[in-house]
Subunit: 181 residues, 2 copies
């Protein structure tokens, strides 16, 4: 960030009075430009013990398999965002059953939220951001070809819970940064 | 938003190619400025069936009672943000027990996330954003003097769950906007 989006003045990083963190502050109008983590909302669409995955047609992780998910938009609830992304990426209609996994990825300032959901029909097909959409049983999941760790963890939880017959909401922090001693 | 934060050019609202929503797009460098919902993370600090509330020393809702919570920062996990806000607003040390309530407020593009947590000691005191910090039993909660609906709902859930002896993670959409017919 170099310029103030309100007045066009030059911004600089400094700690505002009463704050403890570096912010981008306009040298002209003094507006503080806060930056905050973004939410990625998605679904784990299930049919007959199988899970719907999408092969990514976009970077990052072009060609890897993912659950339908994307950035939550202003004006949307989290479930609305998850349903919209599922429709956009896989043309899949689902019913949300429960909040299922929540991941903090502080090193990239992202939060992932997935809902376990029930596929309402099998008329899904690839949206513009997908190369392929397909139902996978546990034994067919392409574990080494998944796009993100949050996807791998959500699928691991699901198949583990499926064996137990109880689906638990789980929260996880995924942070590969070295921790201070 | 009037100016591009990258190049200082003038931005205008339009639907970028391949998109379906109005975005702020720079007329000079073509950068798309996405805007996304923000997360407010907080704790429900509990001691001996009582809940720690803070009287707000800041707007909005100056003088109203709230749970310690605030905007999640870049580089933070959600639990880290909740613990930091609890320390900042009430100088209270807690242990997080569970993800407890999650609210979407799409009309103001905010998401609230609260953790049920255990107060580790009673040496809390008001931080700079609080006028007063106090433990309340259910019968003493100032219901008409609470700051936000997400706070009211979280407290209602807690005292209801306390009677049942089972604490359930709950997700709610709070949206006062009229729905299309």
């Amino acid at each position: 960030m170099k310029y103030c989006s309100q007045c066009g003045g030059t911004v600089a990083q400094r700690i505002p009075e009463g704050d403890t963190r570096q912010r981008f502050v306009c040298g002209h109008c003094n507006l503080i430009h806060y930056q905050n983590p973004r939410i990625i909302a998605g679904c784990l669409p299930v049919h007959d013990n199988k899970v719907l995955l999408c092969k990514r047609a976009i970077e990052p992780r072009y060609g890897k398999w993912t659950l339908p998910a994307g950035f939550l938009e202003n004006g949307e609830s989290i479930p609305e965002g998850a349903l919209r992304e599922t429709l956009e990426e896989a043309n899949a209609r689902v019913e949300i059953e429960q909040l299922y996994t929540l991941f903090s990825l502080p090193h990239i300032s992202q939060v992932y939220i997935f809902y376990k959901s029930r596929l309402l029909d099998l008329d899904f097909f690839s949206g513009i951001e997908s190369l392929e959409t397909k139902l996978f049983a546990e034994e067919d999941i392409p574990w080494s070809e998944l796009s993100f760790e949050a996807i791998t963890r959500t699928l691991e939880h699901f198949f583990s819970d499926q064996r137990q017959g109880v689906y638990l909401t789980r929260e996880t922090v995924i942070d590969p940064r070295p921790r201070p001693n």
